[in-house]
Symmetry: C3
């Protein structure tokens, strides 16, 4: 009987998924087009979207021109024209190349590494990898539409490798949230969770980036923190009595194989995280984002091992080491592309590793006991606390930033610091950098304030929308699982006869 | 006694392999040289092979020249000359960079992901990964020679990252075929299968690409369809009585670990398939190939899950989900770089996922019962049917294509549509695009016809040559396995004492 | 009691690790800065470090200039100036792109593939992956400092993707050495081993590259050979009685899962090795390094299978196949970027595969019996012998090299062959290639001699410093393990209740 109910639930899930797919096809047919550089050159009617990077690159192309002083003025003008032409041509021909190999890295993180990381429960490996795949496939389409509707261009949504990368960020948000309640939802509930979260996540990104102009290259504020607290709110609202929390945690143990697979996932995230934090940063900001992220991750790894070893009376735990090692990637996310210097990246990384280990070891059991808060994979300690750390650090770094320290990349790093349209300052700057967009003329401590506001907005929106989501998911219609069916692959998968 | 026969067979395999290697070294010494961009600049005597991409890029470089109208005519001429020079220099310096990161992606697909995907039988994981590695290593060399002999340049075979990519495509063909009969051949038979198939595959590629000018960026027609039906022909010719088909299928079950490893393989193929379908396409065609492939794959994943859930009365099967999720990559292969719009890519992907699931679930058992057709990994449903779907769709898309829809990339997408040498039309076009090669002046529906012809040729050649190959493999000399030795790692591998 | 001693040792390890981290942060704060291209353009006060590649690229940019003879002399001068400017600008803007995707490949090799490869013992998988991660994280920082101190620039150490790649090479050295004694050290001993080895490895690199000007693109001489014999010296000095060698080897068996994971590691190394051998080579040298490495690896794979099959009376061994398949990557390392022709790469690869298999099968048991030399993972046969083979081959290839064969890439391949400062020859060359650095005016057979000297220096320094390291590690203070605690994850990891 249990089984046939499960089969019925799976069929409902399949039907809803198919309906979504039909709707996506219709919406794609009406709204979605290839972006300009995926069109034939002759079809690029509107001037190509000048990506942020051009501000920087044109800027750079002007600097070294002083080295050709032996040329006549006419020739120099010609050359400047041509220099710009050449760069435009180059940019026009292969903008793809700037993003494609990093797109691959991020796809590995989202579709493979995350799946392996959450396949860490012996009894839930099939579901973890299967659910993360189908949610990923669903969210690519849904996030493309949601982000696109919030940023329509000529009434259309433009599809490119960059929008696919942005969709991957949305999948990251959904999978982070999923980790909080991993093993406790039915397929239908997972699907609805993804559907609802993408809406609010897209809103949050929109507010943080376009209204608040947050400095957050790796999305630690608008993505990691949001997703973690969205998930924790879902978990709290769907609250279970204390006994079941304990029972669930008992079921959620790993096997040697599952923990080694999770280690492969961890290492892939460790390796490719620099791409995640730097993919959308331009020129030297990108190089810094790579260096700072790589360096923060090695420090958080050292932090995880050393704090684990010193603080605890037990042996190393694979799961805690894995979470600690990655915490540096989150904690450096909001400041990765800034001039923080490598030693500061080491400090941020080490602190994050320490915070994650201590959170996992001491705070998690406490919250489980006191609040009956279920956090299946310790998301709060890999994404929540390090995300908040990232936000606080970013406020400090923004506040202390100076024009002399950032030089020619100042306005690239802090676009809201560009003077407002119509001011004398802007006119002067515009004369030098014709492609510069006007900003808000923010001072550095104002920017610091906005970093904190963005963090508050992210947490608040996450808690409110996560609670709503949790209430929806509790509805009988969406097949909430009985406790005895949780964390059990056999519920929806036909497993091999021989399990080992 | 069984064992010593096996040992003797292994030794024969080793000897033949060594002989092949000696022959390869001799042939390489006589025929194979570094391609032009792997030579010192001073040694590039012949003008560099102008790759197909240049047609497009020079075309693009002409378009924006209108933006420098303020320069004198002389200067403009100079600049055009220089613009071409600069592009040539740039192309000359690092053509490698355009291919190298995608080469890495494809190597992961061929050498790692494929091996993991076919390591899905609990009793045959060592052999699957070992055999796929050694066949890969063998085919890189043999395919380089075969493809090279069919395309000699100054009497030599030129080796570059591009020819290595093309060799990887040949390995894909051999491994797809191998999957049909996985576990039922001796090492010697695998080796001969690879030796024979590469010959006919190279012929098929030659006919489809150079004679028929098929539009098939990802090789769904000339590679996937060919390899699948080659393998099915081998399997039919080596036919076994009904009972043994059932028995073999019983041995071919997975374990939890083998199915999770196969899932890792699946995800790696899912992630890097856009590189496979786009690697040899130029400029905007490449960007479209990436977008369409990524989008088709998410739709086939959704298709696999939803059709599985709705159609069947059973729970999800890992193997079926894996096949269905990847079917979109095959089905989009022939049209990936065309202007089909994203929604059409979604439709193609979803259909492929559905077709694969239904084929695997209903058609496969039927064919096993009626035709005693053994298809160990369901190759017909991941490569055969989706390949045919790709061919049919490509005929439709080619027939409906218009010059207005493709604009400046029309002749890049349909090279056979370029007017014939000597015609007025060609002379006019040649004046604008000096590097344009003459074509056949095909109309769009003629191209559609050629797509279908290419499909018919691929299937026919596959069935004929596959049957021949099957007859050869049946010879006693090549150590056909007894049924009780099939799907058994222990036959050729010394396994660890503790198997878990 | 055993346990509490282990816990105490782990705590000592944690404390020391934390102290190192604090020291690293302090040293980074004082010495380490972003490299020039990670700084804002306006902050790049000193002229950018002209990387080696520029010699080649400027050289190339001069060649095709003959094609614009129709331009006036003035214009030509202007263009040359501009051509150089454009190339500089291009180089300045994205030097990162030339290295970043290969950096990712190498990170996969070092952090993931190596960990999987050495997770080949059933009882030591957690430790192998955990220890390789923490040692990697430690060495990134320590090697950055060590290499930096030996190459201070304006009193500072410059951090970039290139220095991170160079740190990855140091990790490779440490992990190769670790493999020799894998499972026999305490965490504290591993840490000290890494600390000590990095010092001597950095010295060896410095001597081989800057004093001896060794030709060794993939580091087979200064890295693989050094690391292997450093490890073997450590192992010999920490010598154990014969009985325990046998006992240890008995504990060091694999399981099916561990051997399949090791196969994944092997395949990842196989796939990305071309990046390792080519990452720092310029232009056509890089392309050759990729082709030669790829081709050598397929030949060593064929060599491993065929020699295994022919020579031995047993079935295939997963471990031996894995070692043999990779040996080609080491053996081609010193000549990968030279004009050796593909067939020679095949010969080198095949020989290496054969040597590795025979070494593993026959030499290893012999040395264990006669010298009581413990080589847990057969490092001598994957890194030692093939490294020496690489050195010998490189001497031969350097000796036979001619200016006519290398043409314009002669001085790029053999920088020490550039005439000395002040000579007439140098003045002439300098007029053509203004960025050419003076060399030693070495003849080709002199270079061959220096290849052998570099090999002798590497082996000697490895044996001496490895012996010192072994003596240090034997100290009671560093918690040498009792035999019964070796190769046992349970010693420092809390393992899942259910082990399968």
């Amino acid at each position: 009987k249990e089984l046939s109910a499960a089969a019925w639930n799976v069929r409902k899930f399949g039907l809803l998924l198919a309906l979504f797919q039909v709707a996506f096809i219709l919406f794609f047919a009406v709204f979605v087009q290839y972006d300009w550089d995926a069109l034939p050159v002759s079809h690029r009617r509107s001037p190509p979207e000048v990506p942020h990077v051009t501000v920087i690159s044109q800027h750079q192309s002007l600097d070294p021109s002083a080295t050709v002083t032996n040329l006549s003025r006419t020739l120099q003008t010609a050359q400047q024209g041509e220099a710009r032409l050449m760069i435009d041509v180059a940019a026009e021909k292969y903008p793809l190349r700037d993003y494609f190999s990093m797109y691959g890295d991020i796809q590995v993180m989202i579709f493979l590494a995350f799946g392996l990381l959450i396949a860490c429960f012996k009894r839930y490996g099939y579901s973890a990898m299967g659910i993360s795949l189908v949610l990923g496939a669903f969210v690519v389409q849904w996030a493309t539409l949601m982000h696109g509707f919030l940023d329509l261009q000529d009434g259309h949504i433009k599809l490119s490798v960059i929008t696919l990368i942005s969709a991957d960020f949305s999948i990251a948000a959904v999978l982070i949230t999923t980790c909080v309640v991993l093993g406790t939802l039915s397929p239908l509930q997972y699907l609805l969770l993804a559907f609802i979260e993408v809406i609010f996540y897209a809103l949050n990104v929109c507010v943080c980036q376009r209204v608040l102009h947050v400095v957050d290259a790796g999305g630690s504020i608008y993505l990691h923190t949001f997703a973690a607290y969205f998930g924790l709110a879902v978990s709290l609202v769907m609250n279970r009595p204390k006994a079941s929390v304990r029972e669930l945690k008992n079921l959620a143990h790993g096997s040697k194989v599952s923990e080694l697979l999770a280690m492969i996932g961890t290492l892939l995230l460790f390796i490719y995280w620099p791409s995640f934090n730097s993919v959308l940063a331009p020129a030297d900001l990108q190089h810094r984002a790579i260096i700072n992220t790589a360096v923060a991750l090695v420090a958080s790894t050292v932090g995880a091992f050393s704090v684990s070893a010193v603080v605890s009376k037990e042996k190393f735990s694979m799961t805690i080491i894995q979470n600690g090692a990655l915490a540096g990637g989150v904690a450096i996310g909001s400041t990765a592309d800034l001039m923080i210097q490598p030693y500061a990246a080491l400090m941020i990384g080490f602190s994050a590793g320490a915070v994650a280990v201590i959170g996992f070891k001491y705070v998690n059991p406490l919250l489980e006991r006191k609040l009956h808060l279920l956090d299946m994979c310790g998301v709060q300690y890999l994404h929540g606390f390090p995300g908040i750390l990232a936000g606080l650090v970013s406020a400090l770094v923004c506040g202390l930033a100076s024009k002399s320290a950032y030089g020619s990349s100042f306005y690239g790093a802090f676009p809201a610091a560009v003077p407002m349209q119509g001011t004398e300052d802007f006119a002067q700057l515009h004369a030098i950098y014709p492609s510069l967009e006007p900003g808000d003329g923010r001072s550095q401590w104002t920017q610091a304030g906005f970093q904190l506001i963005a963090m508050a907005v992210s947490v608040t929106l996450a808690v409110v929308s996560g609670s709503i989501c949790g209430l929806v998911l509790k509805c009988k219609a969406f097949d909430p699982l009985q406790l005895d069916l949780m964390i059990d692959d056999a519920e929806i998968w036909s497993l091999p006869r021989n399990m080992s």
